[in-house]
């Protein structure tokens, strides 16, 4: 669970997850200026404190590397701001058992704004990934996905969405989605959809990333005979 300045919400999210699943809850504190780490620790989470802010994906990758180093076979990520409900975590695991996918993304289609829908349609076209929500932070990664994402190649990605998903797809892993319910954010705002300049920057950045990766992705998908979904 990556967290930056989420002290008001992180504790209740950690407790909620611990009630739902007998698992280790890891909060990666992305150089917060507030008491995020203490709040998470009090709620019973293990805490990694990044000395430099690496962004949501950098923090998530720190957690994935921790999981790999300590031999965990499954990682579930969720946002610390309270928009993901802990009871959707078992739904991700059920979807994984049902589909046999390496990565499960929890999406809430009704929550998507019009701007997001248009953006995602564009990204679907660009990446060839048939997904409805690219930025959802509610995800399950299995051991194969952990191996891929802990690697050097994933370290220069700035956002957890398209680059990560394309890397997974290129590695021949299967990605699936499952619908979940999400709450509006209790505090804070989306980092990606904060303002129009930020969105524009994000879209340009993502387009360049896609252009740089387009052909290898297709070639490998062809040679591996992979499912067009991933």
């Amino acid at each position: 669970m990556p967290a930056r300045d989420e002290a008001p919400t992180v504790g209740s999210v950690v407790e909620g997850v611990r009630r739902m699943l007998p698992c280790r809850v890891l909060v990666v504190d992305d150089a917060s200026g507030d008491a995020t780490a203490q709040a998470a620790r009090v709620a019973g989470a293990t805490v990694l404190r990044l000395p430099l802010g690496l962004g949501a994906w950098g923090a998530t990758q720190a957690g994935i590397r921790y999981a790999r180093r300590n031999g965990f076979s499954e990682v579930i990520t969720l946002d610390a701001d309270g928009q993901h409900q802990p009871d959707s975590v078992p739904m991700l695991r059920a979807a994984r058992e049902r589909s046999g996918a390496n990565v499960v993304i929890g999406t809430c289609v009704g929550r998507l704004s019009r701007a997001k829908r248009i953006a995602w349609r564009y990204l679907r076209l660009l990446t060839g990934l048939k997904l409805t929500d690219f930025t959802s932070g509610l995800r399950l990664y299995d051991a194969d996905a952990i191996d891929v994402l802990a690697g050097q190649e994933a370290s220069l990605l700035d956002y957890q969405d398209v680059g990560v998903l394309m890397l997974l797809a290129r590695s021949g892993l299967k990605i699936t989605e499952t619908p979940v319910t999400m709450l509006p954010r209790r505090a804070g705002r989306s980092r990606v959809f904060a303002s129009w300049p930020v969105v524009a920057r994000y879209m340009v950045h993502t387009t360049v990333l896609c252009l740089a990766q387009l052909d290898p992705a297709r070639r490998r998908a062809r040679t591996a005979g992979a499912d067009p979904i991933c």
Binding site: R49, L54, Q61, A62, R65, Y66, R68, G71, L156, A212
Partner: protein
Amino acid sequence: MLTGQITSAIIGIALAGAILFLVRRDHLHGPYALWWFAVAAATFALGVFPALITWLGRVTGIFYPPVLPIVVGLSLVLIRMLKLDIDRSKQERQIRRLTQKLAILEQELDRLGGKSSPALPDDHTP
């Protein structure tokens, strides 16, 4: 004897090709990749269609043929800058991984209460 058109086309295509190759090989980090994509597109366009330069010269009022040395010099500067950005991307990757590893090791240190650590599997990455 090469015509000016062919020379400029070769330079433009070679530079654009080199940049595209490096961007695609994942040697360049996001914002740099965007910058170099634009440079690649510009060199390609100007190299293959030097008439664009004539047009640009007419539009801007600068029209003087013997600029080839300047173009070559600028190309070298651009190549040098490309190398700098490649190195910075590499360093950024290393800094991010070191930051993550530092946080992981710090957590292990806390858990062990500062006592000497038992042998843990190392994933051999910085």
